[in-house]
Amino acid sequence: PHLRTFGDDFQTCKVEGAWPLIHNRYLSVQVTNTPVVPGSLATAPSKLTIIFKNFQECVDQKMYHAETDELPSAFADGSKNGGERHGANALRVVEQVPGQHVVIQARYIGTTVVVRQVGRYLTFAVRMPEEVVNSVEEGDDQDLYLCLHGCPANQRIHFRDFRARAAEAQGPGRGRSGAGAHGFTYQSARAKCKERLPVEDLYFQSCVFDLLSSGDINFTMAAYYAFEDVKMLHSNSKMYHLFEKDAFKSRAAPRDG
């Protein structure tokens, strides 16, 4: 899947199986990624568990759990708010489109979570104050939380390498159409993604990547909605679009020399 971290790093990762996205004093988010095509490295989110922890006089602990084809409009206990406490309405699940789009408002921590199902897979987005992001439990090693530190280096896939391979596969003598195993050529994938994502930023690049690696046209919409969520949740409009040079400047540069 593609990850945009709290630090605006944009990465594409393998991360098959269950991985933590966020973990702090107030909430934990865990995602499970499953292979999109059997035998392929490509995985996509199929389960998501969010635990909002018990907080003062505001909310009881609540769990939200979504899976492919099951995007509930309530917490796991059937409730839609934070329980019976005085400030329970500071936590609410709001269904936007049944089975497709849910927003969870956690006002007591200034946090908004957006969960969608696009095609067969889930998308996750969150807006959270820095103070909450950094409210780490004492003694808790934060290395593996993807939203905070990104994917481990050995789990990352680099667009540049992927693009080079895609271009090579479509070179002279590689077949009449140059189409990949899933029916999209590099050019046809670009054309498809351009329909929804006119700016050739990393959302566009991720869309091309997904079409080439999976052949599933729904991923065009996943990238489109991920960008829509950025526009809704990100506090700096100048940072909506990310381009390759921005995305890799902070972490990849030292490692790549």
Partner: protein, 122 residues
Amino acid sequence: CKILRCNSEFWASTSSSGQEEEFCTALRAYNGCVRRTARTCRGDLAYHSAQHGIEDLMSQHNCSKEGPTSPPRARTPPPPLPPPLQPDTQERSDGPEACHYERSPPRGAAQPNYTHCGFFGD
């Protein structure tokens, strides 16, 4: 670190009341206020003193940690349960100030910095 503000709010709320129940309520509110300053007050002597002081006072007055914590200067009864959630009900009361991050007293007027994380695609 705004621990002194928590202290003064607590003492203001308890100075006119002699009832044990109200004292416990104020103490719990004080505890909440102190906890919200934890990040910025780490290492501050007044903060750590307040933490220990609250524990002692809770024990002395037999206060439970769970229970009402109405803000000292605005003790309003709990709002009635809302109607079923709808996207257009955003302005309904969210309960105590502590339950609305942007209105929480220790942060004053300063706007918090927000960050974003997204996870999607294959």
